[in-house]
């Protein structure tokens, strides 16, 4: 196994590991804020949870990008011919 493969595997692991950190913290904050809002104003729960879902999807995209980068490194690496 040459060093490009080793570095690719390490890169994939690091990209998923650190790519999961940021969105996890962000989603935690978003859900906490939404819970707070629903507790204050239970009658607005419907519209709050709809906005929450869309926002979570937006935040989650960054983690998904990291996952796709890891998959590209593992399965479609442009540097290994």
């Amino acid at each position: 196994m040459d060093w490009i493969a080793i570095v690719s595997i390490l890169g994939a692991a690091f990209s998923v590991a650190f790519g999961a950190l940021g969105p996890a913290l962000g989603e935690g904050r978003a859900v906490a804020a939404a819970m707070d809002a629903i507790a204050r104003q239970p009658e607005a729960a419907n519209s709050i949870s709809r906005t929450l879902f869309v926002g979570l999807a937006m935040i989650e995209t960054t983690a998904i990008y990291c996952l796709v980068v890891a998959l590209l490194l593992l399965f479609a690496n442009p540097f290994i011919s």
Partner: protein
């Protein structure tokens, strides 16, 4: 382990290779179209059970469009409803043994995202004409033209990657757990997959609505209301 970016070729029609994804997609399309045709063939004033369920679903799509886009759902019902139903059925088709959901492949998601891209242009043109649609790029100021232009492409890309990443990772995790632990262990993951599938179909439809309604709102904005 099989790469999630590759397609299994089932057979060839002339020079065109037909992948497994295409066959699954066409089966889902046939089921949805024939199902809708069978349900709406004989509509009655006092609905049967099946008709009630279909009306409930249609009403749900209508109310979501009304709440998200703040307009009457008429012109958008067919497009948004079809997107939601197709992605939902495609995501949940992983529950049938041996079937891989077509949304777990990049090509199907790319097709859906490109549909949304063109739908935004189509509804923008229909609402404000060519001038109104082009003006929606210059909102709120003409300084934003390059950014708005780039955004219309990158949001299509992020729509595609979001659906692909979520569905594919679900299928992938089930495959890994199955190969590590055995027969009954992946069932909780499959239950989680059902939830993810529903949420992703909902989010795809909601984001399509948000993109369309923001373009339509900017295209129909009148200059005299901008000043005050």
């Amino acid at each position: 382990m099989k790469s999630p970016l590759e397609n299994t070729i089932l057979f060839q029609i002339g020079p065109v290779p037909i992948a497994e994804t295409v066959v699954t997609t066409w089966v889902i399309m046939a089921v949805l179209v024939s199902g809708s045709w069978l349900i709406t063939r004989r509509l009655r004033r006092d609905p049967s059970t099946v008709q009630s369920v279909a009306e409930l679903l249609c009403d749900l799509v209508d109310s979501q469009i009304r709440e998200t886009m703040r307009t009457e759902p008429g012109p958008y019902r067919a497009f948004i409803g079809t997107l939601f139903l197709f992605i939902l059925v495609a995501n949940w088709s992983s529950m049938i043994p041996g079937v891989e959901p077509p949304t777990a492949h990049l090509e199907t998601d790319a097709g859906l995202a490109i549909l949304v891209f063109f739908a935004v242009i189509w509804y923008g043109l229909k609402a404000g004409g060519a001038r109104g649609y082009l003006k929606s790029f210059a909102a709120p100021t003409p300084l934003m033209i390059p950014l708005n232009f780039i955004e219309s492409i990158t949001r299509t890309f992020s729509l595609l990657v979001r659906l692909f990443g979520n569905v594919m990772s679900g299928v992938f995790v089930i495959g890994i757990v199955l190969s590590l632990a055995g027969l009954l262990v992946p069932i909780p993951f499959m239950a989680l997959d059902l939830l993810t599938g529903l949420v992703q179909a909902y989010i795809f439809a909601v984001l399509a609505m948000v993109f369309i309604s923001s373009t339509v709102a900017e295209a129909t904005e009148h200059p005299e209301t901008e000043k005050d």
